[in-house]
């Protein structure tokens, strides 16, 4: 091992200065904004984008914890979440296009056959 490796490793400034709770609050705020979007909007595509926001809130939190604890497993998990999100978007947008082709709208209030 090189002598420089034996010294105290370089710790990013952000980890020394910012407590982990700030990242918790930030990602909770993002998640809550996503929930507001899912509950208040009617356009299926905007609802889909709000789901992406919630996924990214989870990603940010996983990366923050993994970076503060210096554990690579959390970042590998984020990588898998991104892969699953890409697959989800491909299938979900195909479904939305199919709905639009059949009903000429992407309003979720229009598709209420399964409501009760």
């Amino acid at each position: 091992m090189e002598p420089s490796m034996l010294q105290m490793p370089a710790i990013p400034e952000i980890i020394q200065l910012i407590p982990l709770k700030n990242y918790l609050i930030l990602s909770t705020a993002l998640f809550v904004i996503g929930i507001i979007g899912v509950l208040t909007r009617r356009n299926a595509i905007v609802i889909f984008m709000s789901i992406e926001l919630m996924l990214n809130a989870a990603n940010l939190l996983l990366i923050a914890f993994s970076s503060y604890k210096s554990d690579p497993a959390g970042q590998v998990f984020v990588f898998f979440i991104m892969a699953v999100a890409a697959a989800e978007v491909a299938v979900g947008l195909a479904i939305i296009v199919m709905i639009y082709r059949n009903t000429r709208t992407t309003d979720v209030g229009f598709l209420n056959k399964l409501k009760w």
Binding site: N43, Q75, A94
Partner: protein, 172 residues
């Protein structure tokens, strides 16, 4: 004020602001553009947290591939002018109460909880680099990695199947 601190607070502010604009802007095109801005801000956070590999992947996969797919579908469906009549005010107020309650509950839980600080003696700043993540990915998580490829194959087949025109379908 320390530049790192100012960058953190500026990025956080911009992230929350553009996320709010995603939800509250009228036109879906503006929503997508604000979502791209949100993803770039999150990439800035990842770089601050020393996760270079995921920062690059976030730009390539989210801002590159997924958002182009969204934009393409919105332009394909020609939804530029949005005449969405708002949901009833009751629904909106109920949604705000649900979201606000969730935020307050989680915030209260964080205030009471004790989160351990980082360990300065065992800290490894190379964790987020391609080299270390690749070693973990191909040693400990090899099976999920291969299963992800199967998932992509199924998703691709499913998207093609869903997009195909059926025989009895109405045409416009």
């Amino acid at each position: 004020m320390n530049p790192t601190l100012s960058i953190f607070y500026f990025l956080s502010f911009l992230t929350v602001l553009s996320a709010l604009m995603v939800v509250f802007s009228r036109s879906p095109i503006h929503s997508v553009l604000y979502l791209i801005l949100t993803f770039f801000c999150l990439t800035g956070h990842y770089i601050l947290l020393n996760a270079q590999f995921l920062a690059a992947v976030n730009i390539i996969v989210y801002a590159g591939a997924i958002m182009v797919l969204f934009l393409f579908v919105i332009m394909f469906l020609n939804m530029k002018k949005e005449d969405e009549e708002a949901k009833t005010n009751l629904t909106k107020i109920a949604a705000m109460i649900v979201a606000g309650t969730l935020f307050v509950i989680l915030f209260g839980a964080y205030r009471k909880s004790i989160i351990g600080a980082y360990n300065p003696y065992e800290y490894n700043s190379q964790v987020g680099m391609v080299e270390s993540l690749g070693a973990v990915l191909f040693r400990d998580y090899l099976l999920p990695f291969e299963l992800a490829s199967v998932l992509f194959l199924i998703a691709m087949t499913g998207a093609v199947m869903l997009g195909r025109r059926e025989v009895g379908e109405r045409h416009f």
